[in-house]
């Protein structure tokens, strides 16, 4: 888990994100490393994680989080982590479907997101009442690239928000802004409307640099005096093997 990120956003193993809808957006870089941080954070705090993998296999998370000090296989056997493998589900559906009808645009069935939603609901309900949980969906924007209509994706996101209202659970997902789906630009405002915290990652405009991988902005939404307040904190970041370094823009060690 990334200490510096925790300090920036005000999280810790004692003070986990509470009923938050967190979404990670990235443009010009890849922000999936932040998922490992959250998995490790919750597991270290002894809380529950529901991990829905779409983009990578479970082993990838297992090994990567192992570097952060969280043992995923052990947590899985203990029941603290539940894994939903969408890659396998999607593959099975794709291979079996030999429908004679011209359903060309549906590799998955229409019901996939609904079924996923129900499954997540059941899993979160089965978590003991005093424990917090986080539902992590690998990559929601990938569903758009796979042909799901944008309404389904937004409905799913909305239902996840509903879960955070009714249970002590948070929701986390990643949205890649470099994709090709035409509907992608409309997805972002919808996410940010329902979201309570955005981790916005942007690659450097000047291109790839070894010392500074990009800018990370933490935008936290809260209600103060009946007004919605956005708290923004901007840092530049560098990812290393085991941790994330954050520093004020322009103050990278390589520059100073």
């Amino acid at each position: 888990m990334f200490e510096e990120l925790n300090r920036l956003a005000g999280w810790s193993t004692e003070k986990l994100p509470d009923r938050e809808v967190i979404f990670i957006t990235d443009k010009g870089c890849n922000g999936t490393f932040l998922l490992h941080h959250f998995i490790a954070l919750y597991l270290k705090a002894g809380q529950h994680v529901v991990l829905v993998t779409v983009e990578q296999s479970f082993a990838h998370y297992s090994v990567a989080c192992g570097k952060l000090g969280a043992n995923l296989t052990k947590s899985k056997t203990e029941g603290k982590l539940t894994h939903v493998d969408m890659m396998k589900a999607g593959l099975n559906e794709y291979l079996q479907e030999s429908s004679p009808t011209d359903q060309l645009s549906k590799g998955f069935s229409n019901k996939t997101l609904e079924q996923l939603n129900d499954m997540i609901h059941d899993l979160v309900n089965s978590v003991p009442v005093d424990k917090k949980s986080i539902v992590i969906v690998d990559d929601l924007s990938l569903f758009l690239s796979l042909g799901f209509p944008i309404e389904d994706v937004i409905t799913f996101y909305h239902k996840m928000k509903y879960i955070t209202r009714t249970k002590p659970a948070s929701f986390l997902t990643v949205l890649h802004l470099d994709g090709s789906a035409e509907d992608l630009p409309t997805l972002y405002p919808n996410f940010s409307y329902y979201g309570t915290c955005e981790l916005k990652l942007e690659g450097l405009e000047s291109g790839y640099s070894k010392d500074v991988h990009g800018t990370l902005e933490v935008i936290q939404k809260s209600m103060k005096n009946l007004r919605t307040v956005f708290e923004r904190k901007v840092r530049q970041y560098k990812v290393t093997e085991r941790t994330l370094h954050l520093f004020a823009p322009g103050t990278s060690k390589a520059v100073l």
Binding site: N30, S57, A59, L68, Y94, D102, L104, G107, G179
Partner: protein, 370 residues
């Protein structure tokens, strides 16, 4: 080397040994060579088993084809199973042109002798590395002038799928059909990843190398967003299939036929992406005299870790020699002024171009004297 314990099905394998592969030191991945030792070095040692490599074709497809041939030839040299899928031509055309492996030569370090005295101030600086790979530990070098004939291929596991034959059959979705065929091949020839209970059966394991050439060309479908969507689904499911079996895929796509955002999505759906830009038919920048083209890493392989293996730079140039496919770092020209940086390359270019203009037009920049 730390031995990572055997992990569950659908994962990277480690603790098993298959000829032609080696475990990576820090990620618990099983790596295999792409057939080009320089490319292996750019990937951090090799291509992990269970991943999909995307080659974005150069406009004439000459070099992407060669990369596919190297990939398959490496498979035969290591006794892996190979499976070639084509729709533009008969697979036999490629299979009968696979280069023959030369004997493994260790790259000798020519600068080892102390004959040259380098200036004292440069003594302690590391030697500039021109070529990317020094010693290939497990790859092969191939001789493009010699090909393996059918006899030599006879005792190897060579499979192919000729999608040209299916044009007459009524197949609604060629992509789905292809994936089904791959799955059938995996199941019938036992390339599926072993589950936990099968640990003792290690000696029967082998890797299937799947190469798909000219994927997404007009033969596969019109180059519109619908085909792009089908390609997305195919790539997604191919990757899912690769993760749960002992398969490694090399796909070449003519990406100049698709929009840049579509190509970006293709890259996202593959594990690693390399773009080839050849100089054929174009006026060559004199800086690139000895090279045949540029190679750009468009997506870095990031598996089992927080950040990908990043080579020293992301811009390379390649040169196709008879016995080697050499990839070298692109060096910047020496610093001559305060503002020299990437612009140094451009400045030289415009100078030379303006010099050769018939009117002898005046240049706004001073001649750079090297």
């Amino acid at each position: 080397m730390k031995k990572v314990t055997f992990t569950k099905k659908g994962t990277k394998k480690s603790g098993i040994s298959i000829p032609g592969t080696q475990p990576s030191t820090n990620n618990g991945l099983l790596l295999t060579s792409t057939g080009i030792p320089s490319l292996d070095a750019l990937l951090g040692g090799g291509l992990p088993v269970g991943t999909v490599l995307l080659i974005e074709e150069d406009h004439t497809n000459r070099f992407a084809r060669i990369v596919s041939k190297y990939f398959l030839a490496e498979g035969t040299a290591c006794n892996h199973g190979i499976y070639l899928i084509t729709r533009n031509e008969k697979p036999q055309k490629i299979l009968l042109q696979l280069p023959m492996p030369t004997t493994m030569e260790k790259v000798s370090r020519e600068a080892g002798s102390g004959e040259m005295n380098i200036a004292i101030r440069y003594h302690d600086l590391p030697k500039a590395q021109k070529s990317v790979a020094d010693v290939s530990r497990y790859g092969h070098h191939f001789d493009l002038s010699k090909t393996m004939d059918a006899l030599q291929l006879a005792d190897k596991e060579v499979h192919s799928l000729n999608l040209l034959e299916t044009i007459d059959k009524e197949i609604k979705d060629i992509f789905r059909y292809t994936l089904q065929q791959i799955k059938i091949k995996i199941d019938t020839n036992n390339y599926a990843a072993p589950s936990d209970t099968d640990v003792g059966n290690e000696k029967n394991l082998n890797i299937l190398r799947v190469a798909i050439t000219n994927f997404g060309s007009p033969m596969w479908g019109e180059n519109d967003s619908e085909t792009a969507m089908k390609i997305n689904k195919f790539l997604f499911c191919l990757r899912a299939l690769a993760r749960q079996s002992l398969m490694v895929c090399c796909i070449t796509i003519p990406t100049n036929l698709y929009t840049s955002t579509q190509v970006e999505t293709f890259r996202q759906l593959c594990d690693c992406s390399v773009e080839l830009q050849s100089f054929e038919g174009k006026k060559k920048n004199p800086l690139y005299k000895q090279y045949h083209g540029l190679l750009k890493m468009r997506k870095l392989l990031c598996l089992n870790s927080l950040l990908p293996y990043v080579p020293e730079t992301l811009d390379f140039a390649f040169e196709l020699k008879k016995t080697k496919f050499v990839i070298e770092y692109l060096h910047l020209p020496p610093d001559v002024s305060d503002t020299a940086s990437r612009q140094g390359v451009e400045e030289i270019d415009t100078n030379k171009v303006s010099k050769s203009s018939p009117c002898g037009g005046t240049t706004l920049k001073k001649d750079l004297d090297f």
